[in-house]
């Protein structure tokens, strides 16, 4: 006993100053747990992202390696380039055409399919089925439907003696046509998410409102939409990001034409990089798109989240 108390100075010294190794113990444990996702993210997200940003400051050779450092010249070039500005404008229009219309349509279908009727399961399956069709397959189907002479739409117009429309060949119509097919493709997913959100709302709220005498639209406005707001917020964010990144249907339906009218940014990046081998300006476009989506999402969180009611 007394031996311990006889040398208090040594005792304090060892207890007082744990080394860096000791102190970082918890951090090291945490990193160990995070390691698998850090590795995955590094390989598939962080490395490509930083490589893109890096490349956007260079002119590249045929193999896509950085050749000449040009600073911000790629960005300057882009902002002066009518082709890129046209792409940006087309992308913006495309987002405006597809996101609000697509969400309203899915919401409408989800509200219909949320009614308790016999055989409603059939409609729920049908409405969500577009989720199970790949972009490529459905684009091919739409390609046929838009066909000027044998396509369904023009046949239909002919029935009523309306003038024919060159859906995918007319620069006035091409973007709208692609938007229509995109809305159709996205409806399944949005519908399913919104229907799930609707089914999560406690049935008793509606019963209580019915006893109070609230009509359908009153209930929709004061119960359904506020209670659905987190789901709506989620689906708006996802749809927005998806619309900015549209590629597959453009490639199959129009290849960016006619007259560049459907040359959305992601398609333009692809063309710049893999057709023109301009990896520098392609990377600069990618960074630009990244910033646009980032800003749009931040704005949405800023202004949208206030109106969202979380449970």
């Amino acid at each position: 006993m007394s031996t311990i108390h006889s040398r208090p100075d040594e005792f304090i010294a060892t207890e007082h100053k744990p080394g860096v190794w000791e102190r970082s113990r918890r951090a090291r444990t945490a990193i160990l747990y995070l390691l698998p996702s850090i590795i995955l993210f590094s390989v598939f997200v962080f490395y490509p992202m930083f490589r893109t940003i890096y490349l956007s400051f260079f002119l590249t050779d045929q193999a896509g390696d950085a050749a000449v450092f040009v600073g911000l010249d790629n960005y300057k070039y882009l902002l002066d380039s009518p082709a890129f500005l046209n792409s940006a404008k087309a992308t913006l229009l495309f987002v405006l055409y597809t996101v609000p219309a697509g969400i309203l349509l899915s919401l409408f279908l989800a509200l219909l399919a949320n009614e308790k009727l016999r055989g409603i399961g059939f409609f729920r399956t049908i409405y969500s089925s577009t989720m199970g069709v790949s972009v490529a397959a459905s684009s091919v189907v739409w390609l046929f439907m838009f066909h000027p002479s044998i396509g369904m739409f023009n046949r239909f117009l002919a029935l009523f003696d309306f003038p024919q429309i060159q859906w995918l060949l007319d620069p006035q119509w091409a973007l709208v046509s692609v938007a229509i097919s995109t809305i159709w493709m996205n409806t399944g997913f949005s519908f399913l998410i919104l229907l799930g959100g609707l089914q999560n709302i406690d049935e008793h709220l509606y019963e209580s409102a019915r006893i109070d005498g609230a009509g359908y639209f009153y209930r929709l406005r004061r119960i359904t939409l506020p209670m659905l707001s987190p789901t709506l917020f989620f689906i708006i964010t996802i749809s927005l990001i998806n619309a900015f990144q549209t590629f597959g249907q453009i490639d199959i339906l129009t290849k960016g034409g006619p007259a560049q009218s459907t040359n959305l940014i992601v398609y333009s990046i692809y063309r710049e990089a893999f057709v023109n081998y301009q990896f520098g300006t392609a990377s600069a476009q990618a960074v630009f798109l990244f910033l646009c989506i980032l800003v749009a999402t931040i704005l949405q969180f800023r202004f949208g989240e206030r109106r969202v009611h979380y449970q």
């Binding site: 406690d202 008793h204 709220l205 019963e207 209580s208 409102a209 019915r210 006893i211 109070d212 005498g213 609230a214 009153y218 004061r222 119960i223 506020p226 209670m227 707001s229 009611h309 449970q311």
Partner: protein, 376 residues
């Protein structure tokens, strides 16, 4: 204030099996009517039919003088409190309370005033700006209550409104709901599975079992004269003790399965023949044998003892059945003891062994205190 009348009401969800059959009852204006029964017996279904949330598949429902079978819920002049309260989670307490008034386009000033008055009545004034999730269970319950009261509907329906509260709060809210109902004079139809709530709150109780009425009456009437063994065991805690026995009018006694005969007073067997009967006796009429010579005494082995402070509840073997007795005071009894137990033979009831109908009522046991100063 309005009456509610059910005439031959039945309900079937699948068009084959009735979950509610042939309910005939008249709920008087201003009455506190309790619907009680075990879980799944159809209480909620019945209440929801009255509210108009569930279709009535047979019979006639009258609210006031009007046939209401096909009236939409909003035109039945009633309010309803749900078991899970059904508060709007995205609205403040005040908006929750005024929701129904807003629907009915009540002017804003009046809306505000009525919400304030109701909130005051229920002690909610400090919470008007809060969201439901920021309230305790008891406060949420009050908001649900406030929402029903503020509508000033003459009829109020409640579906197990207290079952999510802890025991102490439940006791408190019981008297509060009763007080408000008296104060406003509304007709209350109150559903519960808790017989204590039924006994303490109801002017009249209706006991439901598997969709059928077992008995309707005042709490004391039902406690004293249960119509059948189901009611006898459902109402009262611990439940009434039952045993299959043999009636022998010749010797004016019933013979318990153990072979033990109990002599009943003269005239007890009026209209009862020799044969099997169900004997029932409430736990409080199985008394300590000390000092009582007028009651028959038998000895039994104690199987379980609970001392509750003011009373002692223990079970013992009566022939083949396990019975419980409730004695006042703290008794030093151990499981395994054989103790003498006196049986108040006048308090025995006899049920028909097959149909279960009450054949012999127990003697009346009501006490009264002469009121002081009242008689002048």
């Amino acid at each position: 204030m309005k009456k509610v009348e059910l005439i031959g009401i039945s309900k079937s969800y699948d068009r084959q099996k009735d979950v509610i059959s042939n309910i005939d009852v008249r709920i008087e204006p201003g009455e506190f009517f309790v619907l009680v029964g075990p879980s799944g017996c159809g209480k909620s279904t019945m209440l929801r039919m009255i509210a108009g949330l569930e279709e009535i598949t047979g019979g006639t429902l009258k609210i006031g003088e009007q046939t209401a079978n096909r009236l939409p819920p909003s035109r039945r002049d009633l309010s309803m409190v749900f078991q899970n309260y059904a508060l709007y989670p995205h609205l403040s307490v005040e908006d929750n309370i005024t929701f129904g008034l807003d629907v009915k386009k009540v002017p804003k000033a009046e809306r505000k005033k009525r919400a304030q008055d109701t909130a005051e009545m229920l002690g909610l004034t400090d919470y008007m700006k809060r969201k439901p999730r920021e309230l305790s269970g008891g406060q949420r319950q009050r908001v649900a209550l406030a929402r029903a009261i503020v509508s000033e509907a003459p009829i109020c329906l409640m579906d197990e409104p207290l079952s999510n509260l802890d025991a102490k709060l439940r006791g408190h809210m019981r008297s509060e709901i009763r007080r408000i109902q008296r104060q406003l004079g509304i007709t209350m139809i109150y559903v519960t599975h808790d017989q204590v709530e039924a006994m303490t709150m109801g002017d009249r109780i209706m006991i439901l079992h598997e969709g059928k009425i077992q008995q309707i009456g005042s709490p004391i009437e039902i406690y004293n004269h249960p119509a059948n063994p189901f009611v006898a065991t459902f109402i009262g805690s611990p439940p009434m003790n039952l045993a299959q026995a043999e009636a022998d009018p010749g010797t004016s006694s019933v013979i318990l399965p153990g072979g033990e005969p109990i002599r009943l007073p003269e005239g007890a067997f009026e209209g009862i023949g020799k044969g099997p009967v169900t004997v029932g006796i409430r736990p409080e009429f199985l008394m300590p044998a000390q000092g009582t010579s007028e009651h028959p005494v038998f000895r039994a082995e104690v199987t379980n003892v609970e001392v509750l402070g003011h009373e002692t509840v223990f079970s013992f073997l009566a022939g083949t059945e396990e019975w419980t007795a409730k004695w006042n005071g703290q008794w030093q009894i151990q499981p395994g003891d054989r103790i003498p137990i006196a049986l108040d033979e006048e308090s025995i009831c006899l049920f028909d062994a097959k149909s279960g109908t009450l054949m012999k009522k127990p003697a009346a046991r009501q006490l009264s205190v002469p009121a002081e100063g009242a008689a002048t």
